[in-house]
């Protein structure tokens, strides 16, 4: 199994979710994160004191899929998250050695 993790623009979350569901993903987990990268942050100025806000709000999506689905999951995320503009984000793929569904104890692909 693979864990496909993506950092995307927040307003793209719904499209990414739909794209993943369309290819058969049954679940996913999202986290509010802040990202630093090529896309510039902004400056906040409070009564003359300047603060560089180098981190931008991003959403991290994690979806665990069977190996066979991994490539399509990557594509789906890419399709859903792309605006063509800087800061669209990244997708990283991790290997997973085990998955368990807590409720039933099922393991492996059955747990997803």
């Amino acid at each position: 199994m693979k864990c496909v993790m993506a950092v995307i623009k927040p307003f793209k979350l719904d499209e990414v979710r739909e794209a993943l569901v369309a290819i058969g993903a049954t679940g996913l987990t999202v986290t509010e994160v802040r990202g630093f990268g090529r896309q510039k942050g902004h400056t906040e100025l409070y009564r003359g004191a300047e603060y560089e806000v180098s981190f931008l709000p991003k959403i991290k999506v994690e979806v665990v899929v069977a190996d066979s689905l991994a490539d399509r999951a990557v594509e789906a995320i890419q399709r859903g998250a792309s605006t063509g503009q800087i800061g669209d984000g990244k997708i990283f793929v991790f290997d997973i050695s085990q998955a368990v569904r807590i409720r039933t104890g099922e393991t492996g692909a059955d747990a997803l």
Binding site: E44, L45, Y46, R47, G48, A49, Y51, E52, V53
Partner: protein, 439 residues
């Protein structure tokens, strides 16, 4: 029957000792039998409004500007000061400030409010019960102390704060209130005009705050880490409540529901609005964006600056006072402060002291007998001496409050210490001092 002597706020109609004498004639409880229900109603309301300024007003205004880990501790400062100064004022503060004594300080005749019977009246407010006058003035003592805490944000020891405020209220606030407002006070007799507390409240708290910033030293990470306000929304709500409550502060300082109160409310509204816009446009021009914190700060600057003038000037003058105050205070925090090298964290000095001085001087410029009554003329009426008189009031306040505050702060630093441990400051005062945190 209304108290027949015409009054403008707490100010005597004519300066000097003559006024004092004539006022003292009324200082018997005899006239206290008949109060005016309208005046009393307004002063009860004004008292509630001024209390609202501190809690939740200042509490929110300041809490929005600190980091999230210090929100509760910041609110706690205003809340506890409200309680503490109430008790001090009851025991000794009111007596020292508002009873007859000398030119410098009052006496102990109202120690623990003894003698403040049900139907007593204070000579400065003959149409309302003294209980109302005492409580109204109490709320001024409270907010003045609470304002200082803006300079101490994020690093002041709570126990040290309580000690400082106790001593400060007795040795700084009470005397200065006596000088400026009490019959016999030397600045009052000298002719200083301060309708609602530009010197007593704002210059006074502002210079004390500067001393605190200086003695405490800067916050860890000052000018290196991101110390940005965690929620300017709270600050806007706080500023809004300050604005609303200030009607009680300024129009209440008329001590009557009369034409002076009405005009004081009008000019307060106008100057505040003008200052908010002035700061906003100045910042828009200089820093390219009109910030929300800027608009809120500008409003407070306007409120501060119109305070001493609010019983003496026309609406047109108020417009000018507001514009000047907005620009000057913006300059004070955005240009002056970074060059002074102290960390007055929430800009008490820049807004309250500089704004208060601006207002004091402009009162000398714009005071007019048409509003304040005979004898209250400023430069616009041709009396250029009033500005000098005002400057004496400013200087006296700066010197006394600055010096005594410094002594108190150094004394506390040398004994129980002023500042929390480094790890406590890192962890945040909410958990370190009060064992609580915001989810």
């Amino acid at each position: 029957m209304k108290f027949s002597m015409p009054q403008v706020g707490l100010m005597p109609k004519v300066g000097g000792l003559g006024a004092l004498a004539s006022v003292l004639l009324f200082a018997t409880p005899a006239f206290a039998q008949e109060f005016d229900t309208g005046d009393t109603a307004w002063m009860l309301t004004s008292t509630a409004l001024v209390l609202l300024m501190t809690i939740p007003g200042v509490a929110l205004f300041y809490a929005g500007m600190v980091r999230k880990k210090n929100v509760l501790a910041t609110m706690m400062q205003s809340f506890t000061i409200t309680a503490l100064v109430t008790v001090i004022w009851t025991i000794v503060g009111y007596s020292l400030a508002f009873t007859e004594g000398g030119a410098w300080v009052g006496g102990f005749s109202r120690f623990l409010l003894s003698g403040m019977e049900l139907d007593a009246a204070h000579e400065l407010a003959g149409t309302i019960p003294e209980s109302v006058f005492m409580t109204f003035q109490m709320t001024f003592a409270i907010i003045t102390a609470a304002l200082i805490t803006g300079a101490m944000a994020d690093r002041m020891k709570f126990s040290a704060l309580l000690v400082f405020i106790t001593l400060w209220s007795i040795f700084v606030y009470a005397p200065i209130a006596h000088w400026v407002w009490a019959p016999g006070g030397w600045l009052r007799d000298y002719g200083v005009l301060d309708f609602a507390g530009g010197t007593v409240v704002h210059i006074n708290s502002g210079i004390a705050a500067l001393m605190a910033a200086y003695v405490l030293g800067p916050r860890i990470g000052y000018k290196r880490e991101n110390l940005a306000p965690h929620n300017v929304g709270f600050t806007v709500i706080g500023a809004a409540l300050l604005w609303v409550g200030w009607f009680g502060f300024n129009a209440g300082s008329s001590v009557n529901a009369d034409t002076n109160a009405g005009m004081a409310m009008a000019v307060t509204q106008i100057a505040t609005a003008a200052a908010a816009l002035a700061w906003m446009f100045a910042e828009w021009f200089m820093a390219k964006k009109p910030s929300v914190l800027g608009a809120a700060s500008g409003a407070v600057a306007g409120l501060v600056a119109i305070t001493p003038a609010s019983g003496f000037v026309t609406p047109g003058s108020a417009l000018l006072i507001g514009i000047i105050a907005g620009v000057v205070c913006y300059w004070a925090v955005a240009w002056l402060k970074p060059r002074m090298g102290y960390d007055d964290s929430l800009d008490v000095f820049g807004v309250h002291c500089i704004g208060g001085i601006t207002g004091a001087i402009l009162t000398g410029v714009f005071a007019t007998a048409a509003i304040g009554g005979k004898g209250f003329d400023g430069l616009v009426d041709g009396d250029s001496a009033q500005i000098v008189t005002q400057l004496v009031g400013v200087a006296a306040t700066l010197v006394w409050s600055g010096a005594v505050s410094l002594i108190l702060l150094l004394g506390i630093k040398a004994t129980i210490g002023l500042r929390v441990e480094e790890m406590q400051e890192r962890e945040g005062l909410d958990i370190a001092l009060h064992g609580e945190s915001i989810a």
